[in-house]
């Protein structure tokens, strides 16, 4: 698998800093899981986090008591089995593989499944399954938006997107993605509600998902 489209380094930076909105973080985490190059970038950006920590003026802090604590082996992450299509982070949310996804019809030829996030007012995270030759519905609402292809492919003015590819497009770009004619396409899509619009409901998906 060759990944041609990667997230903007600025998105990777905010992800590493822990300051990227949760839905966008979900898409970056999913891409990073599939992309060794971006994993390396994130590690470097975490090293930058360590260097930033050194520059902070420390404040007085009490060390914790160690009495009664043992050096136990940490519990390993719960083993929800993915089917190799859904990234691990998403499989955990869905409770398994693609067969566990509760699809609902969004438009003719388009099915969607909204995934839970902690603060729904901050943005949306969802899976979309779009039929061959169909347009991917617009879902942005002024803030950042990320799309990760999980199966199939789509194309727009910026190129062709296949499994593992991320569209991390500037809000100003008009793209109009269309699924390639050879089959359906499943994407993970996240959008962030722009800071000044926080609380304003996403226009387009609101009637469908009742968010």
């Amino acid at each position: 698998m060759t990944i041609a489209h990667h997230p903007d380094p600025a998105s990777l930076m905010s992800y590493a800093a822990g300051s990227l909105a949760e839905p966008l973080s979900a898409v970056i985490a999913s891409h990073v899981e599939m992309c060794a190059a971006c994993r390396k970038d994130v590690r470097r950006l975490e090293a930058l986090g360590a260097a930033m920590l050194e520059r902070v003026e420390p404040v007085a802090a009490r060390a914790p008591e160690l009495t009664g604590l043992s050096q136990s082996q940490p519990a390993f992450a719960s083993s929800v089995r993915s089917d190799g299509v859904l990234p691990a982070a998403i499989a955990r949310l869905v409770g398994g593989g693609l067969d566990k996804v509760n699809w609902s019809t969004v438009a003719p030829g388009v099915q969607g499944c909204k995934l839970p996030v902690s603060h729904p007012g901050e943005g949306l995270l969802m899976l979309l399954k779009i039929g061959a030759g169909k347009r991917i519905p617009e879902h942005g609402h002024g803030g950042a938006e990320l799309t990760l292809v999980l199966t199939g492919s789509y194309s727009d003015a910026t190129g062709r997107y296949e499994r593992g590819d991320v569209a991390d497009l500037d809000e100003a770009i008009e793209h109009q993605p269309v699924v390639d004619p050879d089959g359906e396409c499943i994407c993970l899509i996240a959008s962030e509600t722009k800071a000044k619009f926080k609380g304003v409901l996403p226009r387009l998906l609101q009637p469908i998902f009742g968010v």
């Binding site: 090293a47 986090g49 920590l53 902070v56 003026e57 802090a61 050096q71």
Partner: protein, 196 residues
Amino acid sequence: MLSVETGVRPPQRAPDAAFHADLIHRIASNRDEVAFQGLFATFGPRVKAVLMRQGCDPQIAEDIAQEALLAVWRKATLYEAGKGSVATWVFTIARNLRIDRIRRETAFQSLDDDRPEEASDAPLPDEQVSSGQIQARVRGVLAGLPSEQVEVVTLAYIEGLSHSEISEKLGLPMGTVKSRMRLAYQKIRTALEDLQ
């Protein structure tokens, strides 16, 4: 306002990556409480400071700082220098704990320290030297960044602001914020090219 001048300063003494790794080793092999005190004294007060800058109440900030370093105490035997410096490890643990408090799920902040890595991530032969070198070079790049780039990096890492929040705070277009971040990262990537 951003206090690049008041709240953030160059380190007085560059912490030594090999020294930190030795503390971890002492904790892992002997459950050395003195080594733990040394580690907490190095990182605890800074982790707490960052959390307070991000709006945590001082008590909660202290709890999370303690929790982060206790995680290091418990997981010390799992530490591998090839995966990064101790400072980077502490940074990621504290970041994930903070996110854990504000989000329902931490699943999205991956790079879990327990997962076996693929061959492409395999540690370099002289791993300890390497993670220390990475730390030193990143520090060097940071010291040489133009102040406008340090500003956006600080707002993201220390104040915990998103792109759109930084853009609002500085009164700059989002594209400018992102391009400053890209420029800063490009310098780090270039500086580390021969190490990784």
